[in-house]
Symmetry: C2
Subunit: 400 residues, 2 copies
Amino acid sequence: MNEMLRLHRRHFLVGAGGTAIVGATGVSVPIAPAIAEDNDVAELPDYADWKDPTALIRYTGLTLETRRDAIGTGVVTPLDVFFIRNNLNPPGEAAVADPDAWEVEIEGVAEPRTLTVGELKRIGMDTVATIVQCSGNGRGFFDHEASGSPWLTGAAGCAVWTGVPVRDVVEELGGVVDAARFMTSTGGEEIPEEVERDEVIVERSVPLEAMENAILAWEMNGEPVPLAHGGPLRMVVPGYYGINNVKYVRRVAFTEAESTANIQVSGYRVRPVGESGAPDQPSMWEMKVKSWVTHPIMNNATGRVQIYGVAFGGTNPVERVDVSIDGGQTWEEARIIGPDLGRYAWRLFVLPAELEAGDYTITSRATDSEGNVQEETTEPNHRAYDYAGWDRLAVNVTVS
Amino acid sequence: MNEMLRLHRRHFLVGAGGTAIVGATGVSVPIAPAIAEDNDVAELPDYADWKDPTALIRYTGLTLETRRDAIGTGVVTPLDVFFIRNNLNPPGEAAVADPDAWEVEIEGVAEPRTLTVGELKRIGMDTVATIVQCSGNGRGFFDHEASGSPWLTGAAGCAVWTGVPVRDVVEELGGVVDAARFMTSTGGEEIPEEVERDEVIVERSVPLEAMENAILAWEMNGEPVPLAHGGPLRMVVPGYYGINNVKYVRRVAFTEAESTANIQVSGYRVRPVGESGAPDQPSMWEMKVKSWVTHPIMNNATGRVQIYGVAFGGTNPVERVDVSIDGGQTWEEARIIGPDLGRYAWRLFVLPAELEAGDYTITSRATDSEGNVQEETTEPNHRAYDYAGWDRLAVNVTVS
């Protein structure tokens, strides 16, 4: 826990909730409890072997987190550092060998049909930038034990998706049935025969209104969607937590009721610690306002530094970011920089600061266009979903 | 020249100025004269061996073009398909091993200094999206013989750069000297001893005003700038042709006169065919309004298709794109889609069209915010720079 990691390659490592010691001879950081120095999994899984291993914290073959400092400042998160969280094993590589042949059933419309990706490409096209964030991003900042990977900041990325607007597909098929209240998407992962479908299937319902901005995407950051990210076809629901962005989507149904899959009925529900999941608890749908510093310092000496990070408002644009170098006692407004990719993307922020030798607790606080301010702390919840408090998202830095 | 290439992997190949035959069994396209089916160079050069070879036309080890259909629709061109045009061999890999140690001399300011990239990172930070386009992009569309690679559409890409604004560096060093009229950047490539410096050195001057938007960039698309794209440090001059975006930048000088390097004095000048280059001819500085279709069709049958491509205004935002499927006799306004990354980035456009069996000449025409309209054809010039005519940027398609 107090071991030091030397700066390596291009990544300036920062402790999360830990202490970064910045000395004259280089940059050393201790490993926060939630980050194992040796990754839990030695190798990248086959389906993600093209990723940059130095940028990823590897919990399991299905859960790989982007290191806090590896997110870059290009607004769009590069594919080779983008996090992965799969609920089931992905389909085989054959699924992406001929992407246009992949089929998706559309149900709950006037004229239900099975369409190939090739056919979808003829119906319409749009491009949208969205943050994909795992519901459990930040789990490692909670004190209580909760199942799932102890994600810190890096189960989130901002991607540009191209596909057909779901509303165009619906229009092509005569509109949704009158009773429809939800859009339910089903993943194409293989389910072992001995397992009950609803127990494990990745099937998520979102309110019908979410359809307005949703796209069935075949491209991510200008490349065909990789298998690791749900290719050949992924349901993208801008502003909604990652789980609703169903990978390998095989079926989209406009339904009167929510899915009966466990992942919908009891999973991904915000509930008091110790309580069981149930349909009357809030579902992990829309994301909330959040920000964090990614690089608190740029060098190993005292003087001027540039503090920067990412901020977003969930389904609202982010309007303002404040930064504190004293753990939230005083704040200064940061400058929002770089291209604005739209309300569902994150913004970069930067604040120059003059740092003398000493200890600093650097953190950030975002405000969205509706006046929602990032919370100071996040109350415990059973599954430890979405820690967004600026208190523990802070980074402690010692400049010497 | 009439050989057919089968559709392979993810890339739908289109002939450029040639004829694409679209049949019931798949997509076949003839190879336009300027595209060799076998690339002139079999292998990617070492410094670019991480690129996607199927996305690139390889002329020489220093000139690799992005295939027209491989550009993607994510606005930001992925690094692994981004074109390369180097005037000299890049420095060795050692240059990017420790990017923060790279040094750049700043001259023509009140307090001239040599700064490391590590020091630059403390001075300031901004992120900007720009198109990088080689002056010779489109050379292959001209009829006359001209030296240089016969680029078609793919010596261009749109990237997001992060670095320090040049104006912040200048301010830090007390401002530019009074006499300064140009910003002159010098590349760090090695020059053989027996060669006269000015004969080959990559040194470019741009008007001083260009400094306002320029950045010294250490990051491209969220990754440290790769050696192939000018890392560890590149001068980025938004809206200006690629040559002015000097790679491996070693020196930035604010000068009274333009550089005496051949590349400035006589090179990159627009001049009548047969005439020698001279300083009184227009230099390849600001880019002009341009667009092209990247995917004229999405499938191999008649019916509705989505025609899409990219459009930009050089230093002005693009405001409108029209598409013609009859070689410019009639036009229909396309929809501009996707995130707007700012005035120096390109925009995506899309137009749905109903195509019956028959022959089509599909092209696009962009208009910028100042009312400048993409030209119908580009007059020959000695070095065959910047073909931007919508006539030859068209793609002929036969739907059967």
